[in-house]
């Protein structure tokens, strides 16, 4: 269950004291809206305080809204005053609620509404994309590895946006193991010429022999034909580990 996975991820992070403001608000929102969360019900009370605080801002509080109505600034001023984090939060909450509905739909009698389901799955994908995009700046490598692993569930279809984000982790993360985790997830994706090209481009950027070897193994085991020129360009970089050189040369010979 994808949604369960996200909730578990957020709760784990919360109890490690590592959740961001946005993520805590997401958790709070889930426990307010969802009535039956099964094994996660035991955590509900923990989030009550957050819910109470949030009620001050919810649209359902008509009384409060009425009282505040006369004091509202003009629309243009209001927009200026809105914190950007809140806009991001609102977008994330909407996506997350949609994502949660998938689980319910899949066991409801309306299962046949395939279009709706596809639409919601698309929203889950968007949520994953948001997580991948935002988590890249998290200070703890374990958070970034978890974010990368969330993309695994999209491996049965080739999604270029997700692949691009994974390659971004592979090329830019300062932790080698996060890079290796993204290679690990990329192995699960269907192999296309596009993916192979991205891997070859990435190979030119890697300085760690272990990352170079993992990419070369991936290319070697792929049935897609890759560019010999790119591999030669990689070999011309110099200062490579002898075994890395040997593996790249063997791939060139086999093409």
């Amino acid at each position: 269950m994808e949604n369960k996975h996200i909730l578990k991820y957020l709760l784990d992070k919360y109890y490690q004291g590592k959740t961001s403001f946005t993520e805590e608000a997401l958790l709070s929102e889930i426990f307010t809206i969802e009535s039956n969360l099964g094994e996660y019900e035991k955590y509900r009370s923990e989030f009550l305080y957050a819910n109470l605080l949030k009620q001050k801002h919810t649209k359902r509080d008509f009384t409060l809204q009425k009282e505040q109505k006369n004091n509202l600034p003009k629309r243009s001023l209001l927009i200026k005053k809105v914190d950007r984090r809140w806009l991001q939060l609102a977008a994330s909450v909407l996506l997350f609620i949609s994502a949660f509905s998938i689980g319910r739909l899949s066991i409801s009698p309306e299962e046949t509404k395939k279009d709706e389901l596809t639409e919601l799955k698309e929203e889950v994908k968007t949520l994953r994309t948001i997580i991948l995009t935002t988590m890249i700046n998290q200070p703890l490598a374990s958070d970034r590895i978890k974010a990368v692993q969330l993309a695994k569930e999209f491996s049965n279809i080739y999604d270029d946006q997700i692949v691009q984000l994974l390659v971004k982790y592979l090329n830019e993360d300062n932790n080698i193991n996060v890079r290796l985790a993204s290679i690990d997830v990329l192995t699960e994706f269907r192999r296309t010429a596009e993916l192979e090209n991205r891997l070859l481009e990435s190979l030119l950027l890697q300085t760690s022999p272990i990352a170079q070897m993992e990419i070369l193994q991936l290319i070697k085991n792929s049935k897609v034909i890759v560019s010999k020129e790119k591999l030669r360009e990689f070999l011309n970089q110099g200062e490579l580990d002898p075994y890395v050189v040997n593996t790249a040369e063997n791939i060139i010979k086999s093409l």
Partner: protein, 250 residues
């Protein structure tokens, strides 16, 4: 006379050892004593030892054991920039030059997470840290003990020794070394699923390892998947030329 001579020799040796290993220590006041925090170390040289301690203070000791030409590059304490900001203690290099004989001993509160890396430093030792342990080096041996949280460790040519006291489902465990050995100690009752990728090395285990028949084999990867005590959270171990040794803690 003989007794006096002995004292003189002892004093000479003592003064020689003082000049040989010069030490400078800094006590670091934390912005939020008692709260969780982070240690970030990114230095070009130096062996690094990080110890988790009780209390809300951090202490950094720079030990200078340089010899020969390496002594000509000025006082060791000038090599490092030390910053504390909102319970994040950062140590950075001012000089990016290969110099042997420098050591950093760092004492931080136990509830800190650490992110420590060195390029030429021969060793990183970590003990008593309750937060996440994230270490990396190039030719660096890693010795990590009392691990209770996520462990992310990488070295290119060094060996890794990791003693995990508490292995739980919510943590991330990812250890890699290109040419070194990985020796890992796990609690006897651990439930873990090993993902091992060691192309030209070997692996051995004091635990009984069973096949994971539930996983679909991915043809793009050569990794071996094995379960300990029925399987559990992932423990990812990658090396190409070294040994992977799984040991029981007790």
């Amino acid at each position: 006379m003989k007794k006096e001579l002995k004292y003189i020799i002892a004093v000479v040796f003592l003064s020689l050892s003082i000049s040989y290993a010069q030490t400078v220590s800094y006590d670091i006041e934390l912005s939020k004593p008692g709260s969780m925090g982070m240690l970030k170390v990114d230095v070009y040289n130096a062996s690094i030892r990080v110890v988790g301690a009780m209390g809300g203070k951090a202490k950094i000791t720079i030990i200078d054991k340089r010899k020969g030409k390496d002594k000509n590059y000025g006082p060791a304490e000038f090599y490092y920039e030390i910053i504390e900001d909102n319970n994040v203690v950062t140590i950075l290099n001012r000089k990016r030059k290969k110099i042997d004989g420098l050591e950093l001993e760092i004492s931080i509160p136990q509830n800190f997470s650490i992110n420590v890396s060195t390029y030429f430093g021969p060793k990183i030792e970590v003990e008593g840290i309750m937060g996440e342990v994230n270490v990396s080096g190039y030719s660096t041996d890693l010795s990590l003990t009392d691990l209770n949280n996520s462990v992310i460790a990488n070295t290119n040519h060094g060996n890794v020794l990791a003693r995990i006291d508490k292995f739980t489902d919510t943590r991330t465990y990812f250890i890699s070394s290109y040419k070194g050995d990985i020796e890992i100690f796990l609690p006897n009752n651990v439930q873990a699923t090993l993902f091992m990728d060691n192309g030209f090395g070997n692996y051995s285990s004091e635990f009984e390892l069973t096949l994971d028949t539930s996983k679909q084999k991915n043809s793009s990867t050569d990794q071996v998947i094995r379960k300990i005590n029925g399987g559990g959270n992932e423990l990812k171990l990658i090396n190409y030329f070294g040994e992977i040794i799984i040991r029981k803690a007790n």
